[in-house]
């Protein structure tokens, strides 16, 4: 068994003299879907900025597959709440952007991106502009871009929160399937406790002021879970436990 694909040890981040997060350690194993849950102001987004290399922590280190990447962007791909597709680029160019930024030729980047459109349910949208796509489709395009930019690890910051309930349910199911197929390990932030229990293998619970780790929770049964999992006692027990921490 190899080590975790992504690991953070003893992360602390200070902004303007105020400690935002303190002594946070976590790990993500190959193929895992792990959720970071916490009250507002627990520094979840700051934590993700550190993990993605957008900002360097005052203390602690980040490792990608054992290699230290602290403060180095471009290795772990990061998807924010909004799809942030660039309105002036066609979908295929939006999706291929991480490859282009690494210096790949436009034609071959487009080709690589195009090859994955089917798997992400985006057939035929290559030459469209973002404004022509529905919210769900845009989110999938953003996920595909995230995947293309990744080395097997994706950070998602409230990826589904902008979608309506039905679209959300559908995209959850779809995401789990796709993730399985493309062997992506995911760490994601959510405010939605139900979503966290439904999707995650494990849940990290953060407390606030400053952000610190309260608990780590393993969710059983392992995925794929039965359709009615959300209606079981086990689900309710998890929810009760999480609420007691928050």
């Amino acid at each position: 068994m190899t080590g975790p694909v992504l690991e953070a040890r003893g992360i602390a981040k200070i902004y303007d003299g105020a400690t935002i997060i303190q002594d946070i350690s976590l790990h993500l194993e190959q193929g895992e879907l792990v959720c970071v849950l916490g009250v507002s102001g627990a520094g979840k987004t700051t934590l993700f900025h550190v993990l993605s290399g957008l900002t360097a922590p005052e203390q602690g280190n980040v490792y990608l597959g054992g290699e230290e990447i602290t403060g180095r962007p471009g290795r772990v791909s990061y998807m924010l709440q909004k799809d942030l597709l660039l309105p002036h680029k066609r979908i295929v160019d939006n999706v291929a952007l991480p490859l282009i930024l690494r210096g790949e030729k436009k034609a071959s980047a487009r080709e690589k991106a195009s090859a994955l459109f089917g798997q992400f349910g985006l057939e035929g949208t290559q030459m469209m502009y973002p404004a022509q796509l529905s919210g769900g489709m845009r989110q999938r395009a953003a996920l595909l871009r995230t995947y293309l930019g990744s080395e097997g690890v994706a950070l998602l910051d409230e990826p589904f929160s902008a979608l309506d309930a039905l679209t959300k349910r559908e995209i959850h199911k779809w995401y789990l399937q796709v993730m399985e197929k493309i062997k992506l390990s995911t760490l994601f932030i959510t405010h939605d406790i139900d979503e966290a229990i439904l999707l995650s293998d494990r849940i990290y619970i953060l407390g606030g002021k400053p952000g610190h780790m309260i608990a780590e929770l393993k969710i059983d049964p392992s995925r794929p879970r039965p359709e009615d999992f959300a209606l079981t006692h086990a689900f309710a027990d998890y929810k009760r436990e999480i609420l007691s921490y928050l």
Binding site: R75, S77, L80, L84, P87, K89, P98, Y129, A131
Partner: protein, 259 residues
């Protein structure tokens, strides 16, 4: 359906113009203003028709000055705006200066430019460059600033450098503001060239204007005004077309907003 709506929406504008022409015509027919001072629309049209070849010849020079000045103004605007966006110290230093230079009326500096540069094209091109540079600079600055911060962060998380963020995000984000500035600037360019020709020169629509003024040829005065207006409108139309070609995604965004 859609087409008919766009026609009805243009109807009030057309009616207003027609109404104004009618009032003008009636004022002339009933002799409310002496004819030598205010020629009727028909007389203006006749003058325009008779002078058209001459006007075209003069327009060649004026348009050349306007185009060269606009090109220079655009180039300077692009360099300055990009540097100001990149270095905030430059932004703070130059912004007040930009606003101040803009409050100096171009008519006031035109004579100075003629004294410095003579009666050839140089002072005209310079004046046009000065007047067109400002709206484009402001347009670009606002445009760069309008780039989505989160999108910039996303690109940075993908490992993008400053130049890549500029090329993939900031420059395209500035396009709509740039075209808005350009739209204003093309008409400024023509007017700027004409004004600078008033003060001296050998050919150009402004030179033509001063000549017909001295001859008290009011119908020709009006004719050249109509001609300049038409040229400006035509140039603005060109900018609108250019914008459509340069920003093909815009039409979908407009559709989306309507829904």
């Amino acid at each position: 359906m859609k087409k008919s709506r766009s026609i009805t929406s243009k109807l009030p504008g057309a009616a207003a113009i027609a109404g104004l022409l009618l009032v003008w015509h009636l004022v002339c027919t009933f002799g409310l203003v002496p004819q030598f001072m205010l020629p009727s629309p028909g007389q203006v049209l006749t003058a325009l028709w008779e002078e058209f070849p001459l006007l075209l010849q003069h327009a060649r020079i004026t348009l050349a000055e306007a185009a060269l000045g606009l090109g220079a103004g655009m180039a300077v605007a692009f360099v300055i705006a990009t540097l100001m966006d990149r270095f905030s110290i430059l932004y703070k230093a130059l912004y007040p200066l930009l606003i101040i230079t803009q409050t100096i009326p171009s008519v006031a500096i035109a004579p100075l430019l003629v004294l410095w540069m003579g009666f050839e094209m140089a002072p005209k091109i310079t004046l046009v460059a000065i007047t067109t540079f400002f709206p484009i600079t402001i347009g670009l600055l606002d445009g760069y600033a309008s780039a989505d911060r989160e999108a910039a962060q996303l690109l940075r998380s993908m490992g993008a450098g400053r130049a890549q963020i500029f090329w993939h995000l900031k420059l395209p984000s500035a396009l709509s503001h740039f075209f808005a500035g350009l739209r204003v600037s093309v008409s400024y360019a023509v007017v700027g060239a004409v004004i600078s020709e008033w003060l001296g020169g050998f050919e150009g629509l402004g030179v033509y204007m001063t000549r017909v003024k001295k001859a008290y040829a009011f119908d020709k005065m009006f004719a050249v005004i109509v001609f300049i207006t038409a040229v400006s409108l035509l140039l603005m139309l060109c900018v609108a077309l250019l914008r459509k070609v340069a920003m093909p995604w815009e039409k979908y965004e407009k559709l989306e907003r309507k829904d």
